[in-house]
């Protein structure tokens, strides 16, 4: 399992975000990719060449905004419509709703 480092690290109070309707605990400021992996959610997108549900699962490769394999849908409750963004570059905010590809 992935796990957050706690020695010498102090985080803000935990907040809740939703991932495919399930509540998970996360920290504001960390990336959505971090929150997902810490919660055991590795698959974020599917290979886009097969936009059907049969596409193979994908997870961050570069973790720096280059590979786009961490594309997830987020809805912050403010914008008009959910946006598809790179999870590795998107900070967690309380109440964020995230949709990832089902494994």
């Amino acid at each position: 399992m992935s796990r957050r480092i706690t020695a010498n690290v102090s985080r803000p109070p935990a907040v809740t975000i939703q991932v495919n309707g399930q509540d998970i605990s996360a920290y504001e400021g960390e990336t959505v990719a971090t929150a997902l992996i810490a919660a055991g959610v590795l698959t974020m997108s599917r290979d886009s060449a097969s936009h059907a549900a049969s596409g193979r699962p994908r997870s961050p490769y570069c973790n720096m905004g280059v590979c786009f394999d961490c594309l997830v849908e987020i809805d912050d409750g403010v914008g008009e419509a959910p946006l598809r963004v790179r999870a590795c570059l998107t900070p967690v905010r309380a109440g964020l709703r995230v949709r990832v590809a089902q494994e």
Binding site: I5, N8, P12, I37, Y61, E80, A81, L83
Partner: protein, 489 residues
């Protein structure tokens, strides 16, 4: 964020807040030049110093001596209120605001930006592109499975996000960075199942014992020696002369198979071992992120060992496009300390170009960073030679069924079949048009190097002959809803 004020002319816009951009910003500010710093990350530091979120407090962050110099450069600029920060922002293109030359000089360059506030244009008299580099991927069966990452990607989770992003890690590659990553994983309580180097142990040790390293860069030598000792104490197998061959698992990584390498650098399928793990970090050096400069029209040259397509520049780091400067890894991957010095020289070049200092003052101001850069360059060259993957390796691990282009899911075998049927295709852009490689969301960053290798081999050409993918704006994909919403700005 200040979309309304974006239209006034800035003095200097710096793309990339890593060591090169920070080094340049400090000097420009010292001379009273206004600086706008733009980066995709939320905080300055670049990939080498991926800072933790502002909401975290991390004690003893990146304690190693390796980071000493760049941390100083970061502290000199980070949190400065007299720098215009435009973070979490992607530069989508460098454009000419007018077709009229005279007017264009007055208007400067125009940056097309996607930031937290949306989509807008920003103009600056001079632009410094210090966009850094990204990891050079090695393609092999299973490299698209969740859990396979660039070693630097794993490291970013550890050093910035304070997350050990898995349980049992295998690191494999040719670059010493993987030693640092292994060490940081161990310190954070992770399990490292193996560290696999393509180099023979003797070659690696010989390079480390090189006089240049021993005398000029003992910091790196002793750090490496210390890490090797720590790995030994933790009973982490460090395997030399081997490479990752394939990774398997149902829906994520379950095991990695490594293979010893023959003298010619190809894997020996008779001598393999399979290691249970849930994460694999791959590290075969870096590719210069030259897309933005190329899109702007800057000319480039090919240097395989220093990051592929590198931006041409003069002694002041000005590219072939007037008032477009380049620094750091886009001019040749040589590490953070070199990037810092290049950024400083480029800043002096910009001061000179903008008429803030005369030529004599510029020469004297640039002398110390030039001297330091010359010293570092020798070490960088040595590192290139040490870290250069065996010539045949990329070709050998990329089997016919291995995915060549991740975005478009084109396997190598399928790509080669189409090349065979269409013998007139001899450039990478023509190959893209024919086969869809490079047409996906990463815009060819992940496959370009491997596509060039396969194409060049098929045609008896060099990777330099087949060219890079044409860089076109937007150089990062951008959501249409936002573009349509903000089009009047």
């Amino acid at each position: 964020m200040n979309r309304e004020t974006a239209s006034e002319l800035r003095d200097v816009a710096i793309v990339g807040a890593g060591p090169a951009g920070l080094g340049a910003a400090a000097i420009l500010r010292e001379h009273g030049v206004a600086v706008t710093l733009i980066d995709e990350q939320p905080r300055a530091g670049g990939q080498i110093l991926r800072q933790p979120p502002r909401s975290f407090t991390v004690g003893r962050w990146l304690p190693g001596k390796l980071y000493e110099r760049v941390k100083g450069a970061l502290q000199a600029v980070d949190d400065r209120m007299d720098v215009e920060w435009r973070m979490s922002s992607s530069v989508l293109g460098v454009l000419r605001p007018s077709a009229f030359r005279v007017r264009a000089e007055r208007l400067g360059h125009e940056l097309w930006i996607q930031g937290p506030s949306g989509n807008y244009f920003l103009r600056a008299q001079a632009v410094l592109v210090a966009a850094g580099c990204y990891e050079r991927p090695l393609a092999f069966p299973g490299w698209t499975l969740p859990g396979v990452m660039g070693a630097g990607g794993i490291q970013a989770f550890v050093k910035s996000q304070q997350l050990v992003p898995g349980n049992r890690f295998v690191l494999a590659g040719s670059h010493p960075l993987q030693l640092v990553v292994a060490d940081q994983l161990l310190s954070a309580g992770g399990v490292v199942a193996a560290v696999v180097f393509t180099q023979e142990r003797s070659a690696a040790l010989r390079a480390l014992a090189h006089p240049l390293v021993m005398l000029g860069h003992s910091r790196q030598f002793f750090e490496t020696a210390r890490i090797l000792a720590r790995l030994r104490r933790a009973r982490v197998p460090v395997i030399f002369g081997a490479s990752i061959l394939r990774v398997e698992g149902a829906s994520a990584v379950e095991r990695a198979t490594i293979s010893m390498l023959r003298a010619d650098g190809t894997p020996d399928e008779q001598r393999t071992q399979t290691i249970a793990c849930d994460r694999v970090g791959v590290c075969h050096g870096f590719l210069a992120s030259s897309e933005l400069a190329r899109q702007a029209g800057a000319t480039v040259h090919w240097r395989d060992e220093a990051g592929g397509w590198l931006v041409d520049h003069d002694e002041w780091f000005e590219s072939s496009v007037e008032n477009l400067f380049v620094a750091g890894e886009v001019t040749g991957v040589a590490g953070a300390d070199a990037a810092l010095e290049k950024g400083r020289i480029a800043a002096v070049g910009i001061l000179r170009r903008l008429g803030r200092i005369d030529d004599a003052a510029a020469r004297s101001l640039a002398q110390p960073p030039r001297r330091r850069l010359a010293r570092i360059r020798g070490f960088a060259r040595l590192l290139h030679e040490l870290a250069r993957p065996p010539q045949q390796l990329a070709n050998a691990t990329m089997t016919a069924t291995a995915t060549l282009c991740r975005c478009e899911s084109v396997a190598r075998g399928e790509f080669e079949r189409q090349l065979q049927e269409n013998p007139h295709v001899a450039s990478i852009d023509a190959a893209k048009l024919l086969t869809r490689v490079g047409m996906g969301m990463c815009q060819g960053r992940m496959c370009g190097d491997n596509v060039a290798r396969v194409l060049a081999a098929a045609r008896g050409l060099s990777a330099a002959d087949v060219g890079p993918f044409q860089a076109q704006a937007p150089v990062k994909p951008v959501l249409l809803g936002i573009v349509a919403r903000d089009r009047c700005s």
